[in-house]
Amino acid sequence: MARTAATTGSKRSTSKPSAKKPAKAESNGNGRLAAVEMMNAEYQKRRKSQIEAIKKTDKKLLRDMLYQMVLGRIFEEKAAEVYRMGKIGGFCHLYIGQEAIAIGSMMALEPSDMVITSYRDHVQAMVKGITPEAVMAELYGKEGGCVKGKGGSMHMFSKEHEFYGGHGIVGGQIGVGTGMAYAAKYKESGQVTLCYFGEAAVNQGIFHESLNMAQLWKLPIIYICENNQYGMGTSQERAMSTRNIAKKAESYEMANEFVDGMDVMAVRDAALRAIKRAREESLPTLLEVRSYRYMGHSMSDPGNYRTREEIARYQERDPIVLFQDSLKTAKVFTDKDFEAIKQEAIDATKKAIEFAEESPYPSESELLSDVYA
């Protein structure tokens, strides 16, 4: 999403301070703070049964899920650090705070299933199987990157892992993902497609055009709206006439669900239901997964459109903290296990940095290759 902080800055400076203040108090906090309390109340209600369910879940799967979440967090924190050092250029959109969405849904897939997402794609790429080394080297613009340094942060791809990319035009991947599902149905391959996008993409025409076709032609796809509540610096209520994104699917008579995006097990359960619907009935689903992005839209975002209070309240419901708490309560893992998992993620990230540092820049002969097949 090639929009700069400078653009936002100039827009903001044109608004009158007197008009801005009440608008900020009204929209920049209350709605989202109410939402987090509502989600938390629901979470507390289901927590007991969820812990029972965790006890019955495969321990290795739970460990893998937690590991991927922690890796995603540590990897992205490191990416931010090296970005500030000038090691990474261009746009860099981080996933911190949203880990439960990718991990909860993608780890409910078969390896042959297909995934496509937006420019906020590092964690999805790693969960689908691209190594942290190849993702970090791509961020560095190095030859060892998963697309040889040609795509960068926003464009991770891997055919081997059925990862159809990070895409830079808001909503563009919704059309492409619909086509991937169309191909799966055409070939009767049995593959399911997960198609991720932010809530701001819901206002694009391609969202509506795609959902209409997907339901009309009964395509095996799950549209996952990662509602982090801000399209760059514009909050959802300043951009959308309704808060309820899941309900938009009903205009197309499509199955839909609202999901607490800070609860990885809730995301997994919703994803499993949707994947079953896609696989067994060849029907699409829209999942609205309400989440929160801790960092700015991209690394160049000063974040002055929201309050510290709001960020802090969402961070109290951090998806990793919530999950670890449940795992501990269920007596599946101990603090010692968490430490070991964290260390593993730190080591993997360190290895990724070393690989990226050492990988050479792409040869200039790459400049004109891959333009045509």
Binding site: V147, K150, F157, Y164, G165, G177, A183, I206, A373
Partner: protein, 327 residues
């Protein structure tokens, strides 16, 4: 050889490729039950059914995006735009997605897809339905742009476009669908993309024309031959991108004069690019400045006389030939 209209030649190409490769499917507005807005897909839905020939809602951006994703995942879609004017709605998927996918994925994902339909003016359909958009698409690396002017070229080039592993913009012309010419009957007849065709040999002046201006250039050539004894060579690049500049240069080295005839507006057109490339490669071989005949710099008007005045014509091409030949 069979004598076919361009419409039927395109229809044959589609039919043969549907039979040859089960991953080929046709998708677009009115392509199936209605038999195609311009009847290019006539009979194909009846023969191949719902899976291979698919009517879409009027949702150009949506079905273009769907086509791009389907191509990435292994199919070979042929997407029909009822006219290329409507491709502008879908241009984000063509330009930002199809054209760049192979490159930005480091060679991981090919997009073998054909976008086809009529381009340019029709019969008094006014401003929003009369645009020749080849220059826009030709500007983007990753896309190929094809513009046939005869039935044989239409068939051979469409088959090659469907078999090509890249996104191909295949531009037809509504005024030309009924034009007839000979087409080889061999089912494996193809014409490679990127190879120009000398439609008429000559020694005194070269006209580079494409699509609708090819028959105009040929008529102009006959007239100047008769009236002024000027021998005109007519070259049809057939593929705009990649452009076979070598055939054009070889002709100019013989004739030393060039007229470019095109249906698009003149500013930043394909003709402008050809003129630049000729200057770059054959400046010393030119005996006169290059002339261009294009559509005027105004949206297309409705009134019959104004429409005719806006478009290139045989007379305008003759005037340009006379100018470069100092007649």
């Amino acid at each position: 050889m069979a004598v076919l209209t361009i419409r039927d030649a395109l229809n044959q190409a589609l039919r043969e490729e549907l039979i040859r490769d089960e991953n080929v499917f046709i998708m677009g507005e009115e392509v199936a039950e209605y038999d195609g807005a311009y009847k290019v897909t006539r009979g194909l839905w009846k023969e191949f059914g719902d899976k291979r020939v698919v009517d879409t809602p009027i949702t150009e951006l949506g079905f273009t995006g769907l086509g791009v994703g389907a191509a990435m995942a292994g199919l070979r879609p042929v997407i029909e735009f009822m006219t290329f004017n409507f491709s502008i709605l879908a241009s984000d998927q063509i330009i930002n997605h199809a054209a760049k996918m192979l490159y930005m994925s480091g060679g991981e994902f090919k997009v073998p897809i054909v976008f086809r339909g009529p381009n340019g003016s029709a019969y008094q359909v006014s401003s929003q339905h009369s645009q020749a958009l080849e220059a826009m698409y030709a500007n983007f690396p990753g896309l190929k742009v094809v513009m046939p002017s005869t039935a044989a070229d239409a068939k051979g080039l469409l088959k090659s476009s469907i078999r090509d592993d890249n996104p191909v913009i295949f531009m037809e012309q509504e005024r030309m669908y009924g034009m007839k010419s000979e087409v080889p009957e061999d089912e494996d007849f193809t014409i490679p993309l990127g190879v120009a065709d000398v439609k008429r040999e000559g020694t005194d002046c070269t006209i580079v024309a494409r699509s609708m201006t090819v028959p105009m250039a040929l008529e102009a050539a006959e007239k100047v031959q008769k009236e002024f004894d000027v021998s005109v060579e007519v070259i049809d690049p057939r593929t705009i991108k990649p452009l076979d500049i070598d055939t054009i240069i070889a002709s100019i080295m013989k004739t030393n004069r060039l007229v470019i005839a095109e249906e698009s507006h003149s500013f930043a057109s394909v003709g402008a690019e050809i003129a630049y490339q000729v200057m770059d490669h054959a400046f010393d071989h030119l005996d006169a400045p290059i002339k261009r005949v294009s559509t005027v710099e105004a949206p297309m008007p409705y009134a019959k006389n104004l429409e005719a005045a806006a478009l290139p014509s045989v007379d305008k091409i003759i005037a340009a030939v006379k100018e470069v030949c100092y007649l």
